[in-house]
Amino acid sequence: MQEQDLAPPVALPMLSPAARRRQLKEKAIAALITAVAFTGIAALVLILVFVAKEALLLVTDAAAREEASFSKMFLPQLVRKGKPLAYVWQPVSGVPKVSMIPLFVGTLKTTAVSMLVAVPLGIFGALFAAEFAPRRLREVLKPTIELLAGIPSVVLGFFALMVMASFLQDTFGFTSRLNAVVAGLGLALAIVPVIFTVTEDALTAVPRSYREASLALGATPWETAWKVVLPAAAPGILAACVLGFGRAIGETMIVLMASGNAAIVSANLGDSVRSLSATIAAEMGEVVVGSPHYALLFFIGVELFLFTFLLNMLAGVWTKKVIQRLKGGAG
């Protein structure tokens, strides 16, 4: 589009020197911005290539293929003689056991808890701030919640470990002090500001005319907020949730500190869990470079990347549909 706009004037011979300089400047700036944008994309691609390359050992190396085959990663294995088959993550055992299932379960449990708490909290908080809060209160509320986003996750993790864990155990009587609920709530603290901020922006961006039309038809402020503003902002809100989910699935420090890191497969939220990201953080320290275990940790990295990528793609498709519907309704 830019090319079309710029091309004809450049072709004209009687451009003044000043105008020509401006043209050149424009072009230089455009080139610079393009270069910066492509650097970002290149960095992303390079990271993926590097991580995937280290994980490739699981396919190319015979020993790694033997120790960490897909069936060993995803099917139940014999753990000890006389015990039932199970999913176990014990990669440094005499006979390494490398089941990914407990890590998936752990990641899903903490993420689910955090999303269950953070999504309603973030969305309703934003709805309140955008639609109902008096102006003065809103001016305090927004920066305060955004400040929460600036707290380093290690501090949130420490808080979850030292304060929340004991409180929750006393309240709910969990067997393990550190469990999916503690880690999930700690995570929620990190995600709420993300969801809140993006949702609030999306709600504020809904045109005034929508609200006025709704109120003019006799709807109450609550009906307007719930049935008009919220649906109109749906794509933005979904983006907020996807961002939150991405952070929850990849967040490492809080989960490492507050989840107990036991690779257990169970549906009980009161059990300790071990997440994918925390496993990388905990084991990368002293793993033997080039060993099957090392490749496995990079493979976990690839999995995390794929999860986030897939989710973003699904959200993109859904958002497009919603926008289409909204446009259809308007026209």
Partner: protein, 274 residues
């Protein structure tokens, strides 16, 4: 983790320096567990003998013993005994039997919450608990409550030690929660009244160090019991040399084994051999 990072920095720094067998320098390499101790010995020794330089590097026991074979270190630190294969190689290469000297002892202690009725367990009971076969404190004479297991990350040397000496090489129960560092384990057990954890001898509030039962006697992990070998969960920390200690290396080892050197062992938190 911090220790590893530090020792790998040191290792990197030393790898860049040309390693020459110059007079007045004794190089010591190996076990990360021992780095903190030998570093302290080296400082104290160099204060008294300014002409001698002691270079201490970590990297792990295996690395130290390999360096001894390659001739790139004078002394290897090892938290385990030398393997037969390693000894064979050294003998073949240098035509002398290598010397191994225990220079300190390191004990592993099991902790429970202060409020726990259980004071002592046998190694066999500890094994069943950590394998996940015993799941209630009632089975070992405690309250009717589930046992909550704490363990260390699998990169930890203490993890390997417990796995080898207590579990007989078997895996920890999957329900064992893994925490980074002894301090985290002590903190967790102090807050979890049904918890059990392990690590070096720790003097912290809220936890109780379990005695280990042998027959009718129970032994606390005191310096006395570790030194005499009555407390079963201890290991020797060794210095290995290519042959008999001589010259400056001998002076350094003599210092480490002297009353002053062994006092440093206690300060660092390990146990003296003498």
């Amino acid at each position: 983790m911090k220790k590893t990072l530090l020792s790998s920095f040191v290792a990197f720094g030393l790898a860049v320096l040309p390693l020459s067998a110059q007079a007045g320098t004794v190089t010591v390499k190996g076990s990360d567990t021992m780095v903190i101790l030998v570093q302290r010995w080296a400082e104290a020794f160099m204060k008294k003998n300014p002409a001698t330089k002691i270079q201490v590097t970590g990297g792990g026991s295996g690395t130290g013993l390999a360096a001894l074979q390659n001739g790139t270190t004078d002394i290897a630190m090892s938290s385990r005994e030398i393997k037969e294969a390693e000894e064979e190689k050294l003998r073949a290469r240098y035509n002398t039997p290598p010397t191994g000297l225990p220079v300190a002892k390191d004990g592993v202690t099991f902790y429970v919450n202060e409020s726990n009725k259980v004071d002592a367990l046998t190694v066999e009971q500890l094994k069943d608990i950590y394998l996940g076969d015993t799941t209630s404190w009632k089975a070992v004479g405690g309250a009717d409550a589930p046992i909550v297991l704490y363990s260390r990350e699998n990169s930890s040397g203490t993890y390997v030690f417990v796995k080898d000496t207590v579990l007989g090489g078997d895996d920890f129960a999957a329900s064992a929660q893994t925490l980074p560092g002894t301090a985290a384990v002590v903190n967790a057990v102090s807050k979890e009244k049904n918890g059990i954890g392990y690590g070096g001898a720790a003097y912290a509030k809220g936890i109780k160090e379990l005695k280990v039962k042998k027959g009718n006697d129970a032994f606390a992990p005191t310096a006395e019991n570790v030194k005499s070998g009555k407390y079963p969960l201890s290991r020797d920390l060794f210095f290995y040399l290519r042959n008999k200690p001589a010259g400056e290396a001998k002076a350094f080892i003599d210092f480490a084994l002297s009353a002053e050197g062994q006092a440093i062992v206690t300060q660092v938190g390990y146990f003296p051999v003498k």
